[in-house]
């Protein structure tokens, strides 16, 4: 697809090879003055994009239904982006020029060059977060979508390039390629031209990217595969927070690494607080499952849901579920071995002491949504952080992308950190 001077390949690259497209695009980029717009101008452009998305620009009609589109719009808000940047980069002036950080030491932050993003199937908007942060600090970006995915990126680029010259420049610095996951030539062509590789996806997708040849200096940022949980005190959580917790489960159909699969709930079945929690949580999951559209399940996903349900019941657990395959809450005394917990399937494990649940924390843990009393929160998070948890958001914030992510800084890895020793001041 080519539009408004933006050289994009947002269609399956069947006619010309992906490598050829990338080579031509990179050659065209070299001719441009890529330093022409700095961080403040780029920040302003993203802020305008955020406004356009919130105002529902007609070009984005196809995105309205997409999980996370509204969150992406608020993510791109200028003040929000700046706050994220400042978490990692105290001296943002260093994005423009050398900035003195010690008496005789200055630092300058320079874009790395070409950042290649492999977007996750079903949650492609997650990749838009990394694209925005990378582009904000001046990198060129290549975004790879599966040929089976809807192209959610090009409509955003259309809006961006219509905003102003800065937006047009950022869009022109973005190449969208679509090719099949088995197209090894396409993957290789991207990887060989990457200064940073960022991969979103499951185990197979991540390992595919890791195994590709790349320049020796290439930085790898791997987002996933991870599992997430929630730890809740049934006695202190409000009905509103329970509804937001349900949203965390339902929103990406648990396809996101931040989606909780296991809920550890302090309380005892048969006691008021716990039973109230379970009733309200079930109602919230049921109503939100109806409200939030989801992808059409394929046979293997449906089979997995039925298998998970059977495994829970055969092992002594209880189910709350709809009549079909929309949602499942499994009440179990401990996580049932083999249960995948995908497509709105969550296991609820009652507990009374934190000591009883540490052993059930997954080794590949990312997010732990917490709703605990103040003292418990401090005690719990200190220990859980050592067990691998990367973030402790509140209910409703589980899927809010933020930096650091997966336990690592992000923006700073899109930059080269350059130091300069300054001459001694004249005596």
């Amino acid at each position: 697809m080519s539009h408004k001077g933006v050289d994009m390949c947002a269609v399956p690259c069947g006619d010309a090879s992906v490598g050829e497209k990338i080579r031509k695009w990179l050659a065209s980029q070299e001719k441009e003055n890529v330093e022409s717009f700095g961080y403040p101008q780029r920040l302003a452009a993203f802020h305008k994009l955020s406004r356009a998305m919130l105002m529902r620009d007609v070009k984005l009609d196809g995105l309205v239904h997409l999980s996370g589109a509204a969150f992406l719009a608020s993510f791109l808000d200028g003040a929000h982006l700046e706050s994220l940047i400042r978490r990692e980069i105290p001296h943002t002036d260093a994005l423009e020029r050398f900035v003195r950080i010690e008496e005789r030491k200055s630092i300058r932050l320079v874009r790395r060059g070409t950042v290649c993003h492999w977007l996750a199937g079903n949650v492609p908007l997650l990749g838009a977060f990394s694209w925005a942060l990378s582009a904000l600090v001046g990198n060129r970006n290549i975004l790879r979508l599966s040929s089976r995915q809807d192209d959610v990126v090009t409509p955003i680029m259309d809006v961006l390039s219509d905003l102003d010259t800065v937006g047009r420049r950022i869009a022109a610095e973005t190449l969208v390629v679509r090719f099949d996951r088995d197209d090894s030539e396409g993957h290789r062509a991207m990887s060989q031209n990457a200064d940073v590789r960022i991969a979103w996806g499951g185990r197979e997708a991540i390992e595919t990217v890791r195994s590709l040849p790349c320049p020796w200096h290439c930085e790898d940022v791997l987002m996933g595969p991870r599992a997430s949980i929630a730890v809740i005190d049934a006695a202190s959580i409000t009905e509103g927070a329970i509804g937001r917790l349900a949203t965390d489960v339902v929103f990406f159909d648990q396809m996101a690494c931040s989606s909780p699969q296991l809920l550890f709930v302090r309380g005892r079945p048969g006691h008021d607080a716990f039973d109230r929690f379970l009733d309200q949580f079930s109602s919230a999951i049921a109503s939100q499952s109806g409200a939030y559209r989801r992808h059409r399940l394929d046979a293997s996903e449906t089979y997995q849901i039925e298998l998970d349900r059977a495994r829970v019941v055969l092992s002594g657990g209880e189910l709350r579920r709809d009549a079909n395959t929309q949602w499942t809450i499994a009440l179990v005394s401990c996580p049932v071995r083999g249960v995948v917990g995908m497509n709105r399937f969550v296991q609820v494990v009652p507990f009374e002491s934190f000591r009883a649940i540490w052993e059930f924390f997954p080794a590949n843990l990312q997010t732990c949504i917490v709703q605990l009393g103040a003292t418990d929160l401090v005690d719990f998070t200190e220990r859980a952080a050592l067990l691998g948890v990367c973030r402790f958001p509140l209910p409703g914030e589980g899927n809010h992308f933020e930096v650091p992510w997966d336990g690592s800084l992000l923006v700073s890895r899109f930059l080269r950190w350059v130091t300069r020793t300054d001459p001694a001041p004249a005596p």
């Binding site: 996750a120 199937g121 079903n122 949650v123 979103w200 996806g201 499951g202 185990r203 197979e204 997708a205 987002m223 996933g224 595969p225 991870r226 599992a227 997430s228 949980i229 990406f252 648990q254 396809m255 996101a256 690494c257 989606s259 699969q261 296991l262 059409r296 399940l297 394929d298 046979a299 293997s300 996903e301 449906t302 089979y303 997995q304 039925e306 298998l307 059977a310 495994r311 019941v313 055969l314 002594g316 209880e318 189910l319 009549a323 079909n324 395959t325 996580p335 071995r337 083999g338 995948v340 917990g341 995908m342 052993e359 059930f360 997954p362 080794a363 590949n364 843990l365 067990l387 691998g388």
Partner: protein, 366 residues
């Protein structure tokens, strides 16, 4: 006879003779008896049945009855019979685990009666020489039996004599020309029955073709049966018509004499041979429900989805109603031109494994 579980077989009734309303009445009652039997003997199954009843207390259709996904038979032991029941093991193709299902003596008798009745409806009642494209060791399972072994023995009751025509050579099994020659000499122009796992049968016949000219015309009333799935042949781009041409070509048999039948170890005793119209039919003591791939609702004619299989035979464990990972198409509810009554379905193959989606992962034990 087990108390509370009468024989599912009706006197003087052919397997596919019952009209749908009569079949439903017979099957629903029989299946409920079987599930009650398992519920009191197999604790985990009893829990599953209780959970199901909360949602569906009064089943009025066979499709209202509970099922177990076949994978749970790989997870652990689900048994209603005593410890001396024979264990049947599936071939572990897509995972490194095989299913464990149990068949006590009564179940094995039922399975044999069932398989005989079904297969005779396709190949006739007379006993014939039986050529097995496998090695004899496959059926020597002791306390456990493989799916291949069970399938071979399932046909043995239709035979007058049995000839194994392959031999073990290292890791491979290959055609044993001397054994085959002896078998053919013994058959001596009579109609025979042959069976092999689909990929084994194919490789054996390829070997026969490659090793030199082979000219021996079978009696036109002979049948070559096979089962076990097409996965390995699809990988080398061999479809059903090419397969039939190769097998039929070796023996000079028409396509219709090469019969593919579908079956799973969890439903041993119920082979599903292709009829003349290319469809598969359950006998009156079994049924098939095709469930929509997304909602699991039973589909209408023309609909595709996951195959649920059920039958009244198993007393060794609660494998009488299973949701498979296979896809099928419900072609007719009744009225197949082959004359067999009831559901006619087409087997579409194994459901593709879920594409990896998103950056989520299965929680891994720490």
């Amino acid at each position: 006879m087990i108390p509370g579980v009468p024989s599912p077989f009706l006197a003087d009734t052919r397997p596919y003779a019952l009209v749908p309303p009569r079949k439903k009445a017979h099957l629903l009652e029989s299946l409920i008896q079987v599930q009650e039997f398992h519920a009191v003997r197999c604790g985990p199954y009893g829990r599953l049945l209780s959970e199901w009843r909360r949602r569906c207390p009064s089943p009025s259709e066979v499709s209202d009855l509970p099922y177990l996904p076949v994978t749970v038979f790989k997870d652990g032991v689900l048994r209603s019979a005593s410890d001396d029941a024979m264990q049947l093991n599936s071939s572990a193709t897509t995972s490194d685990r095989s299913s464990m299902v149990f068949a006590d003596r009564e179940t094995r008798i039922r399975q044999t009666t069932s398989a005989n009745a079904i297969l005779r409806d396709f190949v006739g009642y007379e006993r014939r020489p039986y050529l097995v494209f496998d090695v004899e060791a496959t059926v020597r399972g002791g306390a456990a039996m493989s799916a291949r072994g069970a399938a071979i023995l399932g046909l043995a009751h239709l035979s007058s004599e049995i000839y194994f025509v392959m031999r073990q050579e290292g890791e491979r099994i290959r055609i044993d020309r001397a054994a085959l020659r002896r078998a053919i000499d013994a058959v001596s122009g009579r109609p025979f029955l042959a069976y092999g796992f689909t990929h084994v049968l194919y490789s054996a016949h390829q070997e026969l073709r490659e090793d030199g000219p082979w000219s021996w015309t079978a009696h036109p009333g002979s049948y070559v049966l096979h089962s076990g799935g097409w996965k390995r042949l699809q990988a080398i781009a061999v479809d059903k018509s090419r397969f039939n041409a190769i097998i039929g070509g070796v023996w000079g048999l028409a396509d219709r004499n090469v019969i593919d039948f579908y079956g799973v170890i969890e439903q041993a005793g119920i082979p599903y041979p292709d009829c003349e119209e290319g469809l598969k039919h359950p006998p009156y003591w079994a049924d098939v429900v095709i469930r929509a791939s997304d909602s699991l609702d039973p589909v209408d004619e023309g609909g595709m989805g996951l195959i649920q299989l059920m039958n009244c035979l198993p007393l060794g464990g609660p494998n009488h109603s299973v949701l498979t990972e296979d896809l099928g198409e419900l072609v007719v509810r009744d009225g197949c031109r082959c004359g067999r009554r009831g559901v006619g379905f087409r087997f579409m193959g194994r459901a593709p494994r879920a594409e990896i989606r998103g950056c989520s992962d299965v929680a891994q034990r720490g």
